[in-house]
Symmetry: C2
Subunit: 640 residues, 2 copies
Amino acid sequence: MSSSSSSSKTIRRLEVQSPVPADIDIANSVEPLHVSEIAQSLNLSSTHYDLYGKYKAKVLLSVLDEVEGVGDGYYVVVGGITPTPLGEGKSTTTVGLCQALGAFLDKKVVTCLRQPSQGPTFGIKGGAAGGGYSQVIPMDEFNLHLTGDIHAITAANNLLAAAIDTRVFHESTQSDKALLNRLCPPNKQGKRSFADIMFRRLKKLNISKDNPDDLSPEEVKRFARLDIDPESITWRRVMDVNDRFLRKITIGQGPDEKGMVRETGFDISVASEIMAVLALMTSLADMRERLGKMVIGNSKAGEPITADDLGVGGALTVLMKDAINPTLMQTLEGTPVLVHAGPFANIAHGNSSIVADKIGLKLVGPGGFVVTEAGFGADIGTEKFMNIKCRYSGLTPQCAVIVATVRALKMHGGGPEVVAGKPLDHAYLTENVALVEVGCVNLAKHISNTRAYGVNVVVAVNMFSTDSEAELKAVRNASLAAGAFDAVICTHHAHGGKGAIDLGIAVQKACENVTETLKFLYPLECSIKEKIEAIANSYGASGVEYSEQAEKQIEMYSKQGFSSLPICMAKTQYSFSHIPSQKGAPVGFVLPIRDVRASIGAGFIYPLVGTMSTMPGLPTRPCFFEIDVDTATRKVRGLS
Amino acid sequence: MSSSSSSSKTIRRLEVQSPVPADIDIANSVEPLHVSEIAQSLNLSSTHYDLYGKYKAKVLLSVLDEVEGVGDGYYVVVGGITPTPLGEGKSTTTVGLCQALGAFLDKKVVTCLRQPSQGPTFGIKGGAAGGGYSQVIPMDEFNLHLTGDIHAITAANNLLAAAIDTRVFHESTQSDKALLNRLCPPNKQGKRSFADIMFRRLKKLNISKDNPDDLSPEEVKRFARLDIDPESITWRRVMDVNDRFLRKITIGQGPDEKGMVRETGFDISVASEIMAVLALMTSLADMRERLGKMVIGNSKAGEPITADDLGVGGALTVLMKDAINPTLMQTLEGTPVLVHAGPFANIAHGNSSIVADKIGLKLVGPGGFVVTEAGFGADIGTEKFMNIKCRYSGLTPQCAVIVATVRALKMHGGGPEVVAGKPLDHAYLTENVALVEVGCVNLAKHISNTRAYGVNVVVAVNMFSTDSEAELKAVRNASLAAGAFDAVICTHHAHGGKGAIDLGIAVQKACENVTETLKFLYPLECSIKEKIEAIANSYGASGVEYSEQAEKQIEMYSKQGFSSLPICMAKTQYSFSHIPSQKGAPVGFVLPIRDVRASIGAGFIYPLVGTMSTMPGLPTRPCFFEIDVDTATRKVRGLS
């Protein structure tokens, strides 16, 4: 192994044990490097980042302008086949692949991961730092608080929510004139003026006056009275806690709120549109504009009302100004990781941030690698990566990895239901090549769908100890037959980067041998329905069925001028279709669109295929029962 | 000025302008030092703190054990007279005094301040970093997010809230046996066991078995069924936003929550008991115990139910493990500041943290000064500082500063009502010595009340340009007559530390000339009512009147074994009495106790004198209209 790349100075060799210990024990067994060493391995100087303790640093967005670069590295996206409820190891594979590239193949590499929600960490799922010998460390810092980005999102989201209800309240008790007087109070000299942000609304209303006293009564009404229809408010409050009792609530029941009650609810913070904005913005100025144009509902006349109409777009940006910078961490083997954003993978696009990927691509430079993960199966995560994220970023991936497991393929081949928390059926623990072969229809469809974007596809088979040679061979054969560039067996969970060396080599070759250019699934100019139908078609649907509500919303968004946005399908991750029990590669189904919503600031329309829960709950015995601090060593115990 | 103290290396001289520019303009006109230089001035090595960007660092609690120290510095608390709604400049005086001590009198000094809530920053009040030429910088970082402590409190508070409702929900649908099975699930070998945290509940129940299978049916019921009375739940959710529509809400209206609706509400985050715990804990282990014993309500049988009964005390501690470390910042003149905790000053004790004060006292050492602020007037802040905070910390102050303004004294002398946002009456802008002299009765009572603790009192007259010589002289005379050690005119708002040199000298002399020992207002052993009456007596009340509800609660807390806790009065800050309009030093009133509540984890009982709002609202034009980021310079605009 040569040590020519500067990153190799941070490389740490793992002594792996068998059987693989618990994640937290592996994570705690390694002493992380000071993050400034990780930064140095990427040629970052201390002016390029802010430390947050010893093991985390925020890389400042300004490096995109300040760091000299000769070009970008290779861009690799990791998706998966349609998963079982246990997950097929996509994050773990992402980390393992990078450990292989950085620690064994002497490549410059940056892993781009999403920041996990704290809710599931204390609930059922546990953390999201990878697993086994492929993890981001310190895993407790990765899973909790990190550098406060989700907290900033919560604060901004809820400031906007408070601004909405308070504005409706104040408008209900004041005349147009009184409202204007309050909004533009006189200064000590008795002169009124507009706040800077008010000129955004004035411009939207085509009012070009710059003195509040010059407005006509009609203009006063149009400017000062947003006239929000309470029924139309789509903006909900958020909290980074699994609190099911907040899913549907009634607010405003205090005596001072004068009976202005309203039904609404809380989502988990990562479901906030502001999270999607963070993931899709490309600069501070771009974020400012996106936050300001987020639509929270309509006026009674049907006009969309934005955060800037409420005067709060600037304050939201101030709350988010540090969250804009990705967080640098490290893998168990000392390679760099950028953690940034973590939007929901159904009601949002489920990918980490554009700016983290861009910074990574610049820092690794030509011949280096940025590996970024896309949530859920490739039908959802990779599709949105291509058609939403790459469309906004202008970046082009060279290779898409699809993570598969023999377990999930057996399920797609007709194996019994897999249920989290229950023992696996015998079928999953003993050889059954036929089941695997039938199930590969799911993998094949993900491969051909992903190939259609013009990228090379490498299948990573995340190997379990119960997998047989014949089963693994069947997956490899099916992959190549379906058009994969390569298909590789990986053991990074048990062996760290060493277990993903073949995958790293395959990914490198795939990147070096691109023959096509990036092709989107649909052009932005076509109608909302045409775009929905293009995606449904890629799922295998024979048609699309719209509810009355969906039709109404599509018509409204088209009228409001939002029809040129990309589409973000909110669909189950457990099937290509809308029915979770339909495994394999179902065809001939009609995809039902129950409702259509929009994240105008983030920049997409999201049709709802079925009901999406945006606030998880806690079980009778949540993870938190195990979690504590050893007050003597200050180490966290029980995180999984 | 000698430069013998190492802190003098960080001292920066201000070029003051007249008239005094806006706070944000002064703050932005100074380039802060890297916080590692501030740390170095306190002889902290880089292992003693974690950087959070360039201008903030968390000082690790371990310095209390690790730093060699020969003894503590002087301990000074800053209180005030009964204020007008405009505030009399207590934070500004605290900062100005420290700038004088550190930058002009060559003393080692640490300022201890509370972290402000973000809610009012975007609402009416604006920030809380001091004002004029006496501020903490960078003021935007001070006022927003800081190092995430309040966000951690929000997360912990709301995890506990979710745990409560979810537990009630799961208990309502499961038998005792099913509950136990869920709480203690079998491992792969089919063996059940208790989680570590469950032994806390078992111990409380006097059950000494360590195998779930050995519990008798009666023991299963007692252990597994908390049987929380929903009506008794006092734990509310919190949010660091002024969101009045959350004051009273109905939760659980989603279809999956099966009609288990309940009325509750949100407080602003700084009102969380966890904030009071943070302010009063003395170590990580102490915090773990306090968080675990927080009482959230009662069982139907009337037993208090704690966070540890719910299995979540450890997880709360994990969420708070970084918040335990105070944040180091700097004043405009380069002296060090520790920002930590910020509990409400009525329903909680309104003082910054014990550990910040302790760290400060050790770092400044003998001859140095720690200046810490106590919220509201001395009847509230200083009283709680002495009887609650010093009781738990074991620390003894040498000097109490009482901040007074001619404006407020005129109000106490019978001047017209002072209303925030409205122009001041003529009486406050022209000389009126008689009004001041009459008003000094309020100051005199604060002085004698504070003297009674055995500390020397220095009055700081925060001078305004409209104050006359004769008025200022009247205040000084009245102060000395009431037993103050000294009374000094200060102009730190206009001149920075230079304007508080005389105050610094007076404080130094007061500290060097202590003749008494610390005396509390009441012993802990007396009854809840005796303690309430001792405090009421100090206000000037002739008696106390308890509502039926208050009587019931006092009886319950006494029965539950909580009667030896100190008392934290929730009273208006605008009068010694419970009636805000009673200025001066009213006597002969009967103090009504409407209700009595308890923060068992924090460690106090709080009687409610009148109604306390724990969730502010937003006006028609909140501060946020002015707040934005300059996307070119990345500077925050419009913060006040």
